[in-house]
């Protein structure tokens, strides 16, 4: 259970530094179980920040989203740092971006929060639909205590947290400047059971499954924008000369888009699940990314987002890389 007062103190200390622009955290949303990213520019803003099991957003997406406009004459670039509240998975995203030289380590100040799992909005909305009033969620051992309109409900964590959280091997931030609370010791292991079960299916079954999923896609690109690792200035789908993926929405182009996005995240996806959460059509995008994560671990012994000094997966090679598939 994260001490919110300690969190707010840390944010206040960070935001009052001269070299910090603002600190990004979470605050209460506008209805029901919603939680929204909050930007604290001064100590007063910091008082609104919270941290609860409902804080699912990956805030690591924001440093790369900041627009750097052309400077006016005489104007100096604002090189101050950005403060971020990061859970375990979020910090891996920052480490991976640093590894790829998208950010420098000095550009961010990380306030780390140990996390035992966050609540899947779909699951909690299915249990308590139609919430407009104030709700409150706290941790209590292996259960969540949910207070709605004065009444409390105790639900086991397993019923409400994301599937990805049940196999999380990094509950503590892998990189941070300030840690709120004590590090958590966790015995959860990523065994890729879901991926392995799917791999056993026949080719026809696999295609039938993905065909149904890709036909649902409306190419809104919410997955791309919610992903902290998708920060290309010009995405491949927006390129017109040459045009690789057409803009029409049909099975062929949707398949090309989803496969290429999964490929571009090979060795970079840290499994935060934001893509799946943002997708309005409920396409199981993390299924593809998890499979690639498993394969690169096996084939190249590489795990993204752990070591900022390592070289990125597809930018390096080893002379003895697997090549049994090569004729």
């Amino acid at each position: 259970m994260v001490n919110e007062n300690q969190l707010r103190e840390a944010v206040k200390n960070t935001v009052s530094r001269d070299d910090v622009k603002y600190v990004i955290g979470y605050k209460k949303g506008t209805y029901g179980f919603q939680v929204t990213p909050a930007f604290a520019f001064d100590s007063k803003d910091a008082d609104e920040l919270i941290f609860s099991p409902l804080c699912t957003n990956n805030l690591a997406v924001y440093p790369m989203l900041e627009e750097k406009l052309p400077l006016r004459r005489g104007e100096e670039e604002d090189t101050r740092k950005i403060g971020l509240i990061v859970k375990g998975c979020d910090s891996r995203a920052i480490v991976q971006i640093i590894q790829e030289k998208g950010l420098k380590r000095e550009d961010v100040v990380l306030i780390g929060v140990p996390c035992t799992g966050v609540i899947d909005p779909k699951k909690i909305n299915a249990k308590f639909p139609h919430q407009t009033k104030t709700v409150d969620v706290k941790e209590d051992g292996e259960k969540f205590v949910i207070t709605i309109d004065g009444k409390t409900n105790k639900i086991s964590k397993d019923e409400l947290i994301f599937e990805k959280c049940k196999h999380c091997e990094h509950p503590n931030p892998v990189l941070c400047d300030i840690l709120i609370g004590e590090e958590i010791k966790s015995t959860k292991k990523e065994d890729y059971n879901d991926v392995k079960t799917f791999e056993k299916k026949s080719l026809k079954e696999k295609w039938d499954f993905w065909e149904k999923q890709f036909e649902k896609c409306i190419r809104c690109y919410a997955c791309r924008n919610a992903c902290p690792m998708c920060y290309c200035k010009e995405c491949m789908v927006d390129q017109l000369s040459p045009q690789w993926v057409r803009r029409s929405v049909n099975l062929s182009e949707n398949t090309a888009w989803n496969l290429m996005r999964a490929f571009h995240l090979a060795g970079r996806c840290i499994g935060c699940g934001e893509c799946e959460r943002a997708c309005p059509m409920d396409i199981p995008l993390t299924k593809l990314n998890k499979m690639i994560e498993m394969e690169i671990k096996e084939m190249f012994d590489y795990t993204p987002g752990l070591d900022a000094e390592e070289k990125p997966l597809l930018a390096m090679f080893k002379p003895d890389d697997p090549e049994e598939f090569i004729l």
């Binding site: 295609w207 398949t255 490929f263 090569i326």
Partner: protein, 141 residues
């Protein structure tokens, strides 16, 4: 499948496999005519989107030809391509596309005979698998 002539696209690297294909031709070695060759300077230039575009536009199989490890004209392009391709193959198989449709090979400029054998093997494999229908562009307009 009788009478099915597969369409195979070959991305051959200029310095090794393209030259090897050339040698197969000048040596008058017979091999199936189903492969349409696109010359690239290095196998490392091959972007996975090329493979997916090829499958979308009617190719039944794709072959990527590069230099042997250590022999790349640009020192390391084939190594990078090897990594990329290993991941692409797994991704396609996971989606339900038969991995025997998309192949990679090391063919040097002196291996004309090997090139012909590779093309024969890939053509035979793809012929058995049948036409690629899964995510072909329909161009229904």
């Amino acid at each position: 499948m009788k009478d099915f002539e597969p369409n195979i696209i070959g991305f051959l690297c200029n310095w090794c496999s393209y030259a090897g294909a050339d040698l197969a031709g000048t040596s008058r070695i017979q091999y199936p005519p189903n492969m349409k060759v696109i010359r690239v300077m290095c196998s490392g230039r091959v972007n996975p989107i090329f493979v997916i575009n090829a499958l979308q536009q009617g190719a039944d199989g794709v072959l990527i030809g590069g230099c042997h490890p250590g022999d790349c004209h640009y020192e390391r392009g084939n190594y990078l391509a090897r990594r990329r391709f290993a991941i692409l193959k797994k991704l396609l198989e996971y989606t339900g596309i038969d991995p025997r449709r998309v192949r990679m090979t090391w063919v040097s400029a002196a291996e004309g005979k090997k090139f012909a054998e590779v093309v024969k093997e890939v053509t035979d494999d793809v012929k058995k698998l049948g036409p690629m229908q899964h995510f072909k562009r329909e161009n229904k307009w």
